[in-house]
Symmetry: C2
Subunit: 189 residues, 2 copies
DNA sequence: CCTCCTGCCTAGGATCTCTAGGTTAGCGCA
DNA sequence: TGCGCTAACCTAGAGATCCTAGGCAGGAGG
């Protein structure tokens, strides 16, 4: 084990902190090496390449997000669960923009990030238990829900709501009301 | 005017084609110079830097998108308009993934891209005329609509819907039904 | 014909990704 | 104790990218 300084986990954690500070697209091997006070070549014994680093970051972010969401959902049902889920989701994206961006990259199901993504998807589906939707409407509703939350969060992040006096928080609350309403009365085929 | 080869417009158009082929994050000054059979340093007399290039690309994409949407909306109202708008939006994102990604970058209102973004926002608002919503509900609904469409399109693009037999097209149709329903019965405060 | 301006050039510095191969520190074991 | 093994780090360097500085050439205007 030699100098026991950098392990893969410590490395990925440092990368996660760094990317929240500088943005996901500004996350470079060099910057990470500088932060760890190490030469950049040294990181390549822990991580295959930048893609690999990003993938591990995505897995970390998806796991963390699923944890938060699971905690928020505990003991809640119906609209209560929906609001708790949505707020956990948005709060995570706000607190950890880099990690959140990392979680959006394309991941194949085989990778370690794949199982984290599956867990996240199952939690989303769990919310809909309160709304009594049968397949395939349930899948459609899950996609609708995920689309709206992700869309809102990423538009907010990109500054899309800044050019209007109405606060994003207010629109968010009303959007959750609307989501609850549409899930309650999901239109029949 | 000298050799009259590359103009800013020709340059941005080439960049748009290139980014649709290789992805927005793979759009580099070097690659663009190679495609135009010119040294990369030469492009810096037309464009200040990569950020500037991306901004111009965003302006182009927003203008094109607004054009498509305006055409789709012509002569339609109500749900008809909503569906036409949404399909124009999604079709553009599918046909021009790089341009669409470019349109999502953060833009300040002063830039030329700012006016294109405003025009796009006005068109989105025009749809809601069919749904008789007063402020501030109208703004909330516009944000909700935009969030859902953008979220769906970007999740679809990232492969988020691939791990399930239900087709994205089917979910899309049902999501538009749901959007129409929620806009029709937008929950009162 | 001469000059200016424009569009492109070469040269080069800085940063980043990644590979090849060498060095050192702690571990197990005779 | 001393030996080798291995893990973690190193230096050196190739190739790509972004961008600046300064030069050259060809068409426009006087």
């Amino acid at each position: 084990m030699a100098r026991t300084k950098v392990t893969v986990e410590r490395l990925v954690n440092a990368a996660a902190d760094l990317t929240d500070e500088v943005g996901f697209d500004q996350l470079t091997v060099s910057a990470l090496a500088r932060r760890l006070d190490v030469r950049d070549a040294s990181l390549y014994s822990h991580v295959r390449n930048v893609q690999d680093l990003r993938m591990r970051l995505a897995a970390l972010a998806l796991t963390e997000l699923a944890d938060r969401v699971a905690e928020a959902l505990a003991g809640r049902a119906g609209k209560d669960a929906l609001v708790a889920f949505a707020n956990a989701y948005r709060d995570y994206a706000k607190a950890h923009p880099g990690r959140y961006a990392a979680a959006q990259i394309e991941i194949d199901a085989e990778s370690p990030a794949g199982s984290a993504a599956r867990r996240h998807a199952e939690l989303t589906r769990a919310i809909l238990r309160g709304y009594a939707l049968a397949e395939p409407a349930q899948t459609d509703a899950v996609r609708f829900l995920h689309s709206t939350l992700h869309g809102f969060v990423s538009l907010e992040r990109a500054g899309g709501f800044r050019h209007h006096p109405r606060t994003a928080d207010d629109s968010w609350r009303r959007s959750l009301d609307a989501l609850d309403a549409v899930l309650t009365t999901w239109p029949p085929d």
